[in-house]
Assembly symmetry: C2
Homo-oligomer: 199 residues x 2
């Protein structure tokens, strides 16, 4: 058994958990989807929870990759990078029938009360992603695209925090609406009401 | 077996599902908590899904009761009623260690992709609650507490939709943050940025 086996188990689990939830996904299903023997699961992971935490690492890494790719698109202004992030995310969800939602938000909802290890790990990931968004907003301020006077008494960290939260909420609503309407409304409100800039 | 038995099963299930999720709650657990014989479950409900939909009815009824009680507090202005709704909700979550979150949002997240019956029922409940909030905002406009010119081109229904979504997102984040910070930030941003009124 190689590191590739471990990765295959994580990738299969990340897909299944994103689609069906953590408690609703069995280890048997995960190893079958990964195409590895059942015994290999407990060779790499001491428990289903330990495995779940490795899946959170994987989700966070995927987000960081996307955000890093976005940061290198220097042809786009900071605020246009934020617009592009939302647009691309919405296109991805449109292409999959407005299902699944945010893998980190889903687990925060499902596991936040049930496992302190998940709760702490997820909160760390959220804070990390929020900080990256706050940095992007700071770049928009530095580039003259956002005016701190217009943003009122709210520090950029708080605005970033709210944007992440509101987007999570829109992704939950998307799962019952089964349309892009919640994401459209959320993007408009974030830009036009919160940031006071055109979408 | 009486209607009280049915109600006891629903109330026990509503609590357990709110605390642990739908897929993570077994029928055995529900009937034990309700203190009724296992056979009575299938006497009243044709399936676990049919039961879950009755629990959604229960959640919606609880919300409607709270909103109705709020509507009768005519000593409060419309916007003060909205402030009071958020404050009381936050106090309730503070008293239970910032756990559980929104029972309807939780199920939308967990079941929106897994069961069309849940997805449609939850979306109907969301639209109902959003319409009540839009009516309250309209009352605030009529009372001169909100200025539609300041609200820009956004219809009140869209603003209400966004407020419900953002609050859902804050309730998800609350479950990983285990603090009132996400709710504090959300309330401030909804009032100060979206509605342009003090919290």
């Amino acid at each position: 058994m190689t590191d590739t086996t471990r990765e295959r188990i994580i990738m299969a689990g990340a897909e299944l958990i994103h689609a069906r939830g953590f408690n609703n996904t069995g280890i048997k299903e995960i190893v079958e989807t990964a195409g590895v023997p059942k015994g290999s699961f407990y060779f790499y992971f001491s428990s289903k929870e330990a495995f779940g935490l490795a899946v959170v690492d994987q989700y966070e890494a995927t987000f960081l990759e996307r955000l890093h790719a976005l940061a290198t698109e220097t042809s786009l202004s900071p605020l246009d990078r934020l617009r592009a992030f939302f647009e691309r995310t919405q296109q991805r969800f449109a292409s999959q029938g407005y299902s699944r939602g945010c893998p980190l938000g889903n687990l925060a909802q499902e596991m936040g009360d049930l496992s302190p290890a998940f709760q702490e790990r997820l909160e760390r990931a959220m804070r990390h992603l929020t900080r990256i968004l706050a940095d992007l907003l700071q770049q928009a301020v530095d580039a003259g695209e956002l005016d701190t006077a217009e943003l009122g008494p709210h520090p950029l960290e708080e605005i970033a925090f709210f944007i992440v939260e509101a987007w999570h909420g829109a992704l939950v609503r998307m799962k019952s609406a089964k349309s892009g309407e919640p994401l459209d409304i959320c993007r408009r409100m974030i830009f036009e009401r919160v940031l006071r800039r055109p979408l």
